[in-house]
């Protein structure tokens, strides 16, 4: 319970800090505090003064953040300057597309990385290691944007590009975790005790490494979000990543901050769930007397 509270507190603090970062960016963005009503000749000087006064109270960044946070809690993230629509509505519209491609891409990338890493650790075939390492190395040496271009030329869906961007990271991390697990004392003891290799893999390598392998999901989510921006832009997929790019080109900071905040919340949630699973698994391992 204490671990859960600690995780929730950490996640909330990170999100609040992320919100503050976004609000600060907005507050100091070019054009903040300028209202087009001030240029309207039909308005009286009192009305223009009133329009200016609306911003005066928010000149202090902390007060501005308090107002921003209050509005954000009621799902009001402001108005997008480039789309001239509420940011929340735009996010709601674009989120399903990104979620779909991310869910598929993360699942496929994660499974491919894990399966290849497990097969490589278990069988130790040089050719398999060479082929998988070459594929992972090549994917790591190509920017996500180029992977997207490749998928675009081959008319492959966006989710495959995301899977290809996620795969090398998972393969490398999982390979490392399994390599370490194979080098532990109880594996040597099990082998000396005459246990079969499949049993050693299942009971002495995979089972103890499950929490760490599970935590890779959080890594995959983070990598996938990073890759989603160039991939969605190049493949012209109407998701969150493409919208962030459009917002950056149009210097639409309210929208960009909304996207950043949303992705922070999603990544922090994924990381917290993985961390929680990791700590629960470690606690139960300790209770069972395993080191």
């Amino acid at each position: 319970m204490q671990v859960l509270l600690q995780q929730v507190r950490r996640a909330l603090l990170t999100i609040l800090l992320g919100g503050f970062l976004g609000a600060t960016l907005l507050r100091f963005s070019p054009g903040w505090g300028l209202d087009e009503r001030e240029l309207d000749p039909h308005l009286s000087s009192e009305s223009r003064q009133a329009a200016r006064a609306e911003y005066e109270s928010e000149r202090n960044v902390l007060i501005y953040y308090a107002h921003y946070l209050k509005a954000a809690l009621s799902l009001d993230l402001g108005i997008s300057r480039s789309f001239n629509r509420p940011v929340t509505g735009l996010l709601r519209e674009r989120l399903p597309e990104t979620t779909r491609s991310l869910a598929f891409g993360v699942t496929v990338g994660l499974l491919a990385g894990l399966v290849l890493a497990i097969a490589n650790a278990y069988a130790g075939w040089r050719l398999l290691d060479l082929a998988a390492s070459a594929l992972a190395g090549l994917s790591l040496s190509i920017p996500a944007g180029l992977i997207a271009l490749g998928c675009f030329w081959l008319r492959a869906p966006v989710s495959w590009a995301i899977a290809l961007a996620v795969f090398p990271h998972i393969y490398r991390y999982a390979g490392n975790i399994l390599g370490k697990a194979y080098g532990t004392g109880h594996v040597f003891a099990a082998r000396a005790g005459g246990q079969s290799e499949p049993r050693i893999l299942a009971a002495h390598v995979l089972w103890p490494a499950t929490p760490e392998l599970f935590a890779l999901a959080a890594v995959a989510v983070s990598v996938a979000f990073g890759a989603a921006v160039p991939i969605e832009v190049i493949c012209d997929a109407p998701g969150i990543g493409q919208m962030a790019w459009k917002a950056a080109l149009a210097r639409d900071l309210p929208l960009l901050t909304g996207v950043t905040l949303l992705i922070t919340v999603m990544t922090v949630t994924a990381t917290s769930v993985a961390d929680l699973a990791l700590s629960f698994a470690r606690t139960s391992e300790r209770r069972r007397g395993r080191p």
């Binding site: 790591l140 180029l146 390979g175 990073g226 190049i234 917002a247 950056a248 960009l256």
Partner: protein, 267 residues
């Protein structure tokens, strides 16, 4: 160092040498109006682009930008990681908690989004040279979190180690203890983090360039050269537009190989 790593180091040095000694002056941005989008020839080994600029000269300039500035950005983020992570691990307490929370925040945000947000804040009239420097400066400033956490963990372990306790008992304290005892012991981690960061920054610039948010024209960078690939028709007519891809993959691949597997995995 394995044979493969030696070969990678050799290729990297060759690329660095070629890019540093190659096309100089304004040959990369000079327009040849009589030779617009021409195929490879003796005068233009990789042909020219739609504006009549020599592709080879631009490729050399783009590679030079990546080879010079990505390590500079990696050095900056490593130094920031050493300072922030080292002090947090050494001092502990509230400073440590603040640093961990801020690092968590930076790790939760996809880099590219942060870069997009900060790039959007820059003035519209940023000069091409300033855009190059700012792109890599941003990369360096935003990339401290991951190495910072590792340095912090190593500094915490080192701060409780026997030799530090012995130094404390001998009366060494404060900054002297930090610089003389902790920093030299953190050096191997910092070196590994530096080499890990270099290919990441080369690829990040390429991604930003592909999105049109990297180095401004007329300066060339590997990322901005990749934008030609978006024109599918030109690809089939002129396959030399793939040259920047080859250079980028070779450069990033060599850098990945240079970071030994053990070092990369231990981090």
């Amino acid at each position: 160092m394995t044979k493969l790593q030696k070969a990678a180091a050799g290729v990297f040095l060759l690329l660095a040498l070629l890019s540093l000694l190659g096309a100089r002056g304004d040959s990369a941005s000079a327009q040849n109006r009589e030779a617009i989008a021409v195929s490879p020839s003796a005068k233009f080994p990789l042909g020219t682009d739609d504006l009549g600029r020599d592709r080879l000269a631009r490729l050399i300039e783009g590679t030079r930008v990546s080879i010079l500035l990505a390590p500079a950005a990696a050095l900056l983020s490593t130094l920031l990681a050493a300072a922030i992570g080292g002090i947090a691990g050494y001092r502990g307490g509230r400073i440590d908690r603040i640093v961990v929370t801020v690092a968590d925040l930076f790790l939760s945000l996809p880099w590219l989004l942060l870069l997009l947000a900060v790039r959007a804040l820059l003035p519209l009239n940023t000069s091409p040279m300033a855009s190059v420097l700012l792109t890599f400066l941003l990369l360096g400033c935003l990339g401290w979190a991951n190495p910072g956490r590792l340095v912090r963990a190593a500094a915490r372990t080192a701060a409780n180690s026997d030799y530090v306790l012995h130094a404390r008992a001998c009366g060494v304290s404060g900054w002297r203890l930090f610089w003389r005892m902790l920093v030299p012991n953190l050096f191997p981690i910092l070196l590994a983090q530096f080499w890990i960061a270099v290919p990441v920054y080369v690829l990040s610039e390429a991604n930003l360039g592909l999105l049109g948010l990297g180095v401004s024209e007329p300066l060339a960078s590997l990322g901005s050269l990749l934008r030609e690939l978006a024109n599918y028709d030109a690809l089939s007519q002129n396959p030399v537009v793939f040259a920047p891809v080859a250079v980028l993959v070779i450069l990033a691949g060599c850098l990945h190989l240079l970071v030994s597997r053990e070092k990369a995995l231990s981090c």
